[in-house]
């Protein structure tokens, strides 16, 4: 299994509060991704990174920001959480190009009340 961890694994927060989710990899892969999984939608890309300090938006980026200051860490921030951001969040990595097979972390279940 690819070495990917996510923290926290579960979080309950209130509307309007900031939330940061962390993804950590030990594979030294160049690309890192944040997805959200919702019923009826599958996995949708929020943001991705193609190197340290290099990030780009995905399909559903509104309300989210990311940062990557080290190869191994990719942070997802909800500046002011809303109930619509209640979801399961997955981090993924791929070795070199965006088209490659991606390997996923265990997920973070976020509930915004």
């Amino acid at each position: 299994d690819a070495g990917i961890t996510q923290s926290p694994r579960h979080k309950v927060t209130e509307t309007g509060t900031p939330v940061t989710l962390r993804c950590h990899q030990t594979e030294n892969h160049r690309y890192m991704y944040w997805y959200r999984q919702d019923p009826g939608h599958g996995l949708r890309l929020i943001h991705y990174s193609y190197g340290v300090k290099d990030t780009d938006k995905g399909e559903v980026s509104d309300g989210y920001s990311v940062s990557r200051s080290k190869t191994e860490d990719f942070l997802l921030t909800l500046e002011s959480a809303t109930s619509s951001q209640t979801s399961v969040y997955f981090c993924a990595i791929s070795e070199s190009v965006i088209q490659e097979t991606q390997y996923f972390g265990p997920g973070t279940r976020l509930l915004v009340l």
Binding site: A92, Y103, F104
Partner: protein, 111 residues
């Protein structure tokens, strides 16, 4: 717009029989396709992939078929086992573009 569609939310098969999971896509530029399997409370795991230059790829009990003219791919599992019970996601991508996923199909294999 959902460019990758899995129209069957669920599928139930008997152990030992064939499971066929289907996926349709709308963007003819997609040239690499993948299947992921997901168990509850875990992340998706890569199962099998196929490039658009092929029409079939096999890995043990799993075979993926690609019909480019119909923009359709399918995953065959033979024989199906109870441990195959999971949600299966189809995904598609093209050069320099992010991966698009279907909504998933929940497979239940009954003993």
């Amino acid at each position: 717009d959902q460019q990758v569609k899995q129209n069957s939310p669920s599928l139930s098969v008997q152990e030992g029989r064939i499971s066929i999971l289907n996926c349709d896509y709308t963007n003819s530029m997609f040239d690499y396709f993948l299947w992921y399997k997901k168990y509850p409370a875990e992340g998706p795991t890569f199962l099998i992939s196929i490039s658009s230059i092929k029409d079939k790829n096999e890995d043990g009990r799993f075979t993926v078929f690609l019909n480019k003219s119909a923009k359709h791919l399918s995953l065959h599992i033979v024989p199906s086992q109870p441990g195959d019970s999971a949600v299966y996601f189809c995904a598609a991508t093209m050069k320099d573009n992010d991966m698009r996923f279907g909504a998933g199909t929940r497979l239940t294999v009954k003993p």
